[in-house]
Amino acid sequence: MNTLITILFLIFAALILTSAIMTVTVKNIVHAALWLISSFFGVGALYLLMEAEFLGVAQVLIYVGAVSILILFAIMLTRDLEGSQNRQLTPRWWIALIVPAALFGLLIVPTVMTHDWRLPPPPPAGQPPAISGAQQIGTAFMREYFLPFEVAAILLTVAMIGAIVVAFEERERRRRVLTLAERVRLRQRQQQRQQPAPRPEPAATAVQTSEATGGET
């Protein structure tokens, strides 16, 4: 069984690495997003391999189901489809490679040197492992990590309110798009009104502000 798990781990690791490399090297930005999704899937599979079902499913739900769809949305809404063949690598890509590698090394080397790698003993048979269950995670959120959890919640709420403030269009200032029937009726009324006293300049049919009509009537 252990060899099987090792083989599966190697397959998933290869999948994650290949997808990640493709994500940063492929030219088409939508393809890059799709490769990113495949990488997310690999990470979810790794969680499942560790019997952390809740984390694995949450990974798929949040990263594949929400984050990457938002990424795809953003790409498709902001770029025109023809202009998506951009170069991903700049001429100075090697600097960009060295800096994160150095930062990562700074992070990982002390951990590897000092961390106590003794694994915890496996739980007794018939008992769920310590962190995988949703119940344990929920209890931990509500007890030990209550403050970080709430702070994250407030942060998300603030971000959402900010997004609404940025995107909200006030009702008074919103231009109402007329239906065809309304437009026809509007034109008819204008013509009726203009018949008794025809104005010399061409009537403002397309756009008229309330001030202009207010002065006229």
């Binding site: 499913v57 949450a58 795809l72 119940q135 109402r176 397309a206 756009v207 009509t213």
Partner: protein, 453 residues
């Protein structure tokens, strides 16, 4: 399945091969079950909608047109597969697969009958939601890969709808998680044993005098202590009969309609506006794959709604047959599978009915409906569900002395919980509906009318 195979050919083959064969067999059975249902669903939808619209529907191929789906399938197989010249070939090819695979994966965790459970996953509810969200990626790929403006528009609409209606759906499912105290789908039908409204709270006073046909041993139900009890069990303690379950079911079913792109919410493929949405550039088997994915998604969502709120395979007679032991257990399993299938088909019939009855919503109406009506209702329902759990299960020490229900019998506590949540849910529903009343039609004064450029 694994055990059966082990007992048959256990000596001849290594154990891992037997496990593999068992899984393959179960997968094949479940997939064939779903596809068989898909074929019948297509036929039923066409016939029923035709009946509602005073037409005949397909009635030439086979008796009452029953073989029409097979003729359709042959047509789909033999059609030319057309890929637009400027389409992204690989994305275009992979999109139907990415749309269908997650939907098929949803079928793995549903308990199809008493003891007929493909996989026991302890986060099954979350898994269903997560996996169904993945098919949105497939729709996006189809819309973008086709290199067609209609397809892209359809994909945008589909994914926006999928993402926003997931929130009421998940919030409605949270009620079930709170009531059940876990996310496993397998326990849900067992927890919905008993009688309507009261659930399995009417206990047997005298163990000798209770007929095993009416009473069965319940090991776990909401509000029960952990030790097994003898309770009156007609297999009808479905959560939909309680106020919390009813509201949750309505919210979830409406959200499921939107996720499955059924008619009041079929904006993504509105034929009169954007040809066929993300499927515009697909033909032949690829188109059929999308079609199958859509119907199987509806099938799976109906199964989820039935399992979560309508008792799943639970029904009158199942527990009694299972109590008789021996070969009757298998009869009980078959009867329970029939009950689940009947519930799924009734829900699907309601979907067809809605299709025959309602026009399509506009996009802004769609979003208003999700965010201003369904989500507040679902949130109120979560509070009610927590109250139910508190009123039926908590001791006075857990309430902090605030509420003391320790002296009451289980059925009294259940009755109190039902009454309290009924008041809360009805009041909240009335209030939210009155807020959402359509404002009086403003007669647009001509001076306010500004024609968009």
């Amino acid at each position: 399945m694994t055990d059966i195979l082990r007992s048959w050919i256990g000596s001849a083959l290594p154990d891992w091969l037997i496990v593999l064969i068992a899984y393959l067999l179960v997968t094949t059975i479940v997939l064939f079950y779903a596809v068989g249902n898909f074929i019948m669903m297509v036929w039923a939808e066409r016939r029923v909608v035709a009946r509602m619209q005073d037409r005949l529907g397909p009635n030439r191929v086979g008796p009452a047109g029953l073989l029409q789906p097979i003729a359709d399938a042959v047509k789909m197989f033999t059609k030319e597969d057309i890929v637009p010249r400027n389409a992204d070939r690989w994305v275009h090819l992979l999109a139907p697969i990415v749309a269908l695979a997650p939907v098929a994966m949803m079928l793995a965790v549903i308990p199809w009958g008493r003891g007929w459970e493909p996989i026991d996953l302890n986060v099954a509810l979350l898994y269903m939601v997560a996996v169904s969200a993945v098919s949105g990626v497939g729709l996006m790929m189809a819309g973008w890969g086709s290199n067609n403006k209609f397809a892209l528009l359809g994909a945008m609409r589909a994914v926006a709808q999928l993402v926003s209606y997931e929130i009421p759906a998940v919030t409605a499912l949270l009620t079930v998680v709170i009531l059940a105290g876990g996310m496993s789908l397998l326990d849900l039908p067992y927890m919905q044993a008993g009688v309507p409204i009261m659930g399995a709270t009417i206990l047997c006073g005298d163990p000798a005098g209770c007929s095993p046909l009416l009473y069965s041993t319940i090991t776990s139900f909401p509000g029960s202590p952990s030790e097994p009890v003898q309770a009156l069990d007609l297999g009808l303690g479905w959560w939909v009969f309680t106020p919390v379950g009813l509201l949750g079911f309505l919210v979830f079913f409406i959200a499921a309609l939107a996720e499955g792109e059924r008619t009041p919410f079929d904006i993504p493929e509105a034929d009169s506006e954007i040809v066929a949405g993300y499927m515009t550039e697909y033909s032949g088997m690829k188109f059929a794959t999308f079609y199958i994915a859509q119907y199987i998604l509806n099938f799976a969502l109906s199964a989820l709604a039935a399992t979560a709120f309508l008792g799943g395979w639970q029904g009158p007679g199942v527990a009694a047959l299972a109590n008789m032991g021996g070969p009757w257990v298998h009869v009980a399993a078959a009867l329970s599978a029939f009950y689940l299938l009947a519930k799924i088909w009734i829900l699907f019939f309601v979907m067809i009915w809605l299709r025959g009855a309602f026009p399509r919503l506009r996009v802004d109406q769609l979003m208003d409906f999700a965010w201003k009506l369904l989500l507040p209702l679902a949130l109120v329902n979560i509070m009610s569900a927590s109250l139910v759990v508190g009123l039926t299960q908590w001791t006075s020490a857990q309430w902090g002395g605030l509420v003391n229900l320790d002296g009451f019998a289980p059925w009294q506590r259940q009755l109190i919980a039902v009454l309290v949540t009924a008041v809360i849910n009805i009041a909240a529903t009335y209030w939210i509906l009155s807020i959402n009343q359509r404002p009086k039609q403003v007669e647009w004064d001509e001076e306010e009318l500004v024609v968009a450029p």
